[in-house]
């Protein structure tokens, strides 16, 4: 096991393995999808490109052997969150096709800030983790079994609290929407 791991270990800084290549390619796709999502003037297309980005991230999780999270990502994010977003766009009568005012006047400042933060963080991260490698050949870190074990052994309480939070969010959303309807009915 250790020999195979040693044989599969990269021999230098710039020697990529297949996982890395896949990771980089999917990463580029994800970044591209995200970029289009935040710059396109067509609102519904933005939501759909977001789906692509989130899906790409699910693939990245798989590459990082965190399979449970990958499927949760697909289920929740792609499955429900994006659907909600689409519903929201529909209910707020988002224009189909190009809308000229999708970007606010703040976008130049936004570009500056985003670029600055990107440069800073990339610099810092690359400088810090110049010589760190992830061991992907050992025991699987993110399988369902492993995740279930840790979740219900070590993280039970946060898990339960989270369910309460979900309940609160649910009730809150209902209340928010319902009040409005009552007011509409009264007026």
């Amino acid at each position: 096991m250790s020999l195979a791991a040693a044989a599969a270990a990269p021999s230098g800084f710039l020697s990529p393995t297949g996982v890395e290549i896949a990771f980089v390619l999917v990463g580029i796709a994800t970044l591209g999808a995200a970029l289009i999502s935040v710059t396109t003037k067509q609102l519904v297309h933005a939501a759909l490109w977001l789906v692509v980005a989130l899906g790409g991230l699910a693939v990245e999780y798989l590459l990082l052997t965190a399979e449970f999270i990958a499927w949760v990502q697909v289920l929740i994010y792609v499955g429900s969150v994006v659907v909600l977003i689409l519903f929201g766009l529909m209910l707020t009568r988002a224009p189909i096709g190009r809308s000229p005012d999708a970007d606010s006047d703040n976008r130049w400042v936004a570009v500056t800030v985003a670029a600055a933060s990107a440069i800073t963080l990339v610099w810092v991260v690359v400088d810090a983790f110049r010589t760190t490698w992830i061991e992907l050949d050992g025991s699987v870190q993110g399988s369902t079994k492993v995740t279930g074990q840790t979740l219900f052994q070590h993280w039970v309480l946060p898990f339960e609290a989270l369910s309460v939070l979900l309940l609160a969010a649910l009730v809150g959303a209902i209340v928010l929407s319902r009040k409005n309807q009552d007011q509409d009915k009264e007026s």
Binding site: V19, E20, F23, G27, T30, L31, A34, S37, L43, A46, L50, A53, L54, L57, E60, Y61, L64, A66, F68, I69, V72, Q73, I76, L84, I85, G88, L89, L91, T92, R93, A94, D101, A102, S104, N106, A110, V111, V113, V125, V126, F129, T132, I134, E135, L136, Q141, G142, V146, T147, T150, L151, H154, P158, L162, L165, L166, A169, G172, A173, S177
Partner: protein, 128 residues
């Protein structure tokens, strides 16, 4: 795998999400960009968890929690955006300026600034 790949990917995703939050007009687009940022964070968490081979798998657990909370947040956020749309007729973030200096909450200090001055002047006159 070099740790830099997921870390840098996370950073770039985060920055793109940042641009979206700061530069998009529609509230729902802002929410979408926030989702991007959250996902970047999730990626970071998972990568570090795998790298550290954490026995508690804190990173992955936190990622699950983050996903859950993001879902709850988007639910409520969209409910609010819908309310705003219903009350104001638009869901543009630019239009929600009640916190401004001369916003909806009265004339604010700028308006009342002249009258205390005038009153103080009159008072000074009277005692002079």
């Amino acid at each position: 795998m070099h740790l830099a790949y997921p870390a840098v990917l996370a950073v770039l995703l985060f920055s793109i999400g940042l641009y979206g939050v700061l530069g998009r007009r529609n509230a729902i687009l802002v929410l979408m960009s926030v989702e991007l940022m959250l996902n970047a964070v999730n990626l970071n968490l998972v990568a570090f968890d795998v790298w550290l081979r954490d026995t508690l798998h804190a990173g992955q657990a936190l990622t699950l929690f983050t996903i859950t909370i993001a879902a709850a947040e988007i639910g409520i956020g969209l409910a609010i955006v819908l309310l705003v749309y219903r009350n104001r007729g638009s869901s543009d973030v630019d239009r929600l300026t009640d916190l401004a200096e001369n916003g909806l909450a009265g004339t604010g200090p700028a308006g009342a600034g002249s009258t205390p001055d005038a009153a103080a002047d009159e008072k000074a006159e009277a005692t002079a």
